[in-house]
Symmetry: C2
Subunit: 461 residues, 2 copies
Amino acid sequence: MDSTSFMSCFLIPRSVALIGLSRATGEGSYNLLENLFHLGYRGRIYPVNPNAQEILGVRCYATVSEIPEAVDLAVILTPRELVPSVVSECTNRGIKAIIVVSQGFADADEKGKRLQQEISWIANQGGARIIGPNTFGTVNAFHSFSTAFMKLELKPLPIGLICQTGVMFIGFPGIRLFGKGIDLGNACDIDFADCVDYFGDDPEVSLIVLQIEGLRDGRRFMETARQVAKRKPIIALKTGRSKAGARAAQSHTGSLSGSDEVYNASFKQSGVIRVYDIEELGDLVGGFLHLPPMRGRRLAVASITGAGGIIAADACERYGLQLAQLSPLSLDKIAALSPPWMSIGNPVDMWPASMISGHPYDHVVKTTLEALLGDEGVDAVLYMTTEIESEPALDVAEAIFDVTGRFPTKPIVTWRYSPHISQASARLEQSRRVLVYPSCERAVRTLTALATYYERIAAPE
Amino acid sequence: MDSTSFMSCFLIPRSVALIGLSRATGEGSYNLLENLFHLGYRGRIYPVNPNAQEILGVRCYATVSEIPEAVDLAVILTPRELVPSVVSECTNRGIKAIIVVSQGFADADEKGKRLQQEISWIANQGGARIIGPNTFGTVNAFHSFSTAFMKLELKPLPIGLICQTGVMFIGFPGIRLFGKGIDLGNACDIDFADCVDYFGDDPEVSLIVLQIEGLRDGRRFMETARQVAKRKPIIALKTGRSKAGARAAQSHTGSLSGSDEVYNASFKQSGVIRVYDIEELGDLVGGFLHLPPMRGRRLAVASITGAGGIIAADACERYGLQLAQLSPLSLDKIAALSPPWMSIGNPVDMWPASMISGHPYDHVVKTTLEALLGDEGVDAVLYMTTEIESEPALDVAEAIFDVTGRFPTKPIVTWRYSPHISQASARLEQSRRVLVYPSCERAVRTLTALATYYERIAAPE
């Protein structure tokens, strides 16, 4: 089987056997069948449990071999001791894709390590592939499918996630990391390279996210990633970077974390974008998903306060963007509104034009953003303006919408500088035309990642 | 005048003159008198405007000298050209505290720089002190007082903020940085040292926050800060760190940013806690305000997933905490619930005890937290557990409340690992007993700052 067809069995199975499915249903039971009903999965489901006739109205089979039809995917939920014989039954039944959810393998003691070797060997002999053990398995929002034992709300985002923990599936407030997800768990067989390769060719995936505890075959991963990264951004969070973290990774998924410097070099060489925490990951995912390509490193900054410009300038140096040199035309447009004593440059301080020269603030914002976005020497714009409920004159969302809508090819970001999340800024955020960040640094960091990625794919090899 | 009495005129004035107050009121007018009414300021207010008889029903004076009573504080709002003569009138009238809100001084051109020197000289000759120019002035939530031209919602938090931009007064979602605030603007006279000294003795202030663009007298600042930092934490955000940022600082407040290495060394030597962005500042303010002192660097971690433990271990190394070595008793308590194949250590993975050994999850969480908080080798606890609306069995807020309430002397933090901000976690956050962070890294970074501060004040000089 080539990688597309075996990976399809894991992500878009037409039929699935749930082996060792509990009879317990309802709150706290983590029943996979119930979850599949909840999602509205439309394939065939075969529960296997020798002690039940039916579960939630679905006929149960005592063993895998009794299932009368072909099965694309087997999900194994039994205690660890039973897993080898169940894997064997699956291969005998002709099943080619197996997810082992059960824990207690390389994540546990010596016995667990031997059991894991045993199931890999059995699957290999029988021509089957395994995801896991110790995993949530796969989730596919496009196919209403999930083997995660927790009920998840899915959304068909064009993001393929490959990880070693269900944490990434559950998510965080405001951070959605996938439309299709693969938790490799202990990764006894199917590894990152297989999944990167598959998502690389998947037309429903435009962005690939990795959370890696350890890689078995670094060279193969790098070669695959290098090819795929030319077509789709790959963002990686490597955990288990520290000594204590590496030890913890070994007891979580039995992973050998390896030297962090080696990872750094490998990611760099293969064009994988490395992030260091969940917030950075969420920020970059949003940026690559919603912003147009950034075609250079020249940032223009417009701020209601000079202090914001200073902070933005610091952030540019910290992360690696340059403050754009504005054209004489742009400078003239802005100077025309400003007090005569002001020296105009980038960053632009918009406030004196309104407070001292008396121009309506929304007009100043609009004129400034127009000048910056229309300037050929500018690759992206960061603006900051505040909203205060008790000062309605500061609400310039309409002016911003108007301008930004007319410049679709340049990324525009803003720092949410306001005591509350106002309706206006929520609307901007929903429009996805302007990305709103809780700090200037996070906005600039995201733009830097975009610029670096598009710089690399534009460069000849 | 000693520092306490002249600073009192700025922060708790019994009477204030608003010189150059506009007749315009309502939306977009930024009228200081209106703002003081909005806040319910109880002192006497004297508007000065030669073109008005009254503003908002308050009698106007044509000049400062006509005001019949003593004035604690003058706030100057006139165009820059008029400021020197107004300052002179103020000193002649015996006013000792002057805030110059007007812009266009060292933040502007050569003429502005000369004007600024002139007003400093006049004030000095007349025995008056100046805050500004180019400033929001002062805000005091305990006294319902503000000279900020934007309407602000105030809260009497025990935080004294000293800054060079109104950005810090306006704030950010979820981040409140002050109960009393001083915007020094261009800082032509009153400087950070004066204000740190004042807040150091102010019983209503327990924490001092600085946003610095430049310091004129570094040595005096350091000496003052070193004394005050023994009694109250001082947290500083230095902006204008980069070359471009330093240039921008010069046109914002005319500040000379100076070498960043020198700042680093000065902060370190004087015990000032340095932060690098607004989010870090907000996190640390929350930590110092609400968490008990951290008396060592030994962190215990309890997580619903092994992956969380790995991330926490990485964060400890990144920021400078150690994973605590748990006592045999603690390990036994946790092992008693866990599958026999699990090796128990810190970080603690709580999930197998529930999923595999079948103990109710809230019982596992409670037992684990009790063991960790009761362990003498543990200085603080980080836990992570998820909440999903569709899985009510995971809601363990009651168990957490119960345990954490019984251990008031150790900091407890959590990483908000959940797709939404649930009622339970909002309640935890409101209780202020457990601080909730959006990432493991931010939780650990905050604890590290606490540990570093209390380590320093416990050490003999």
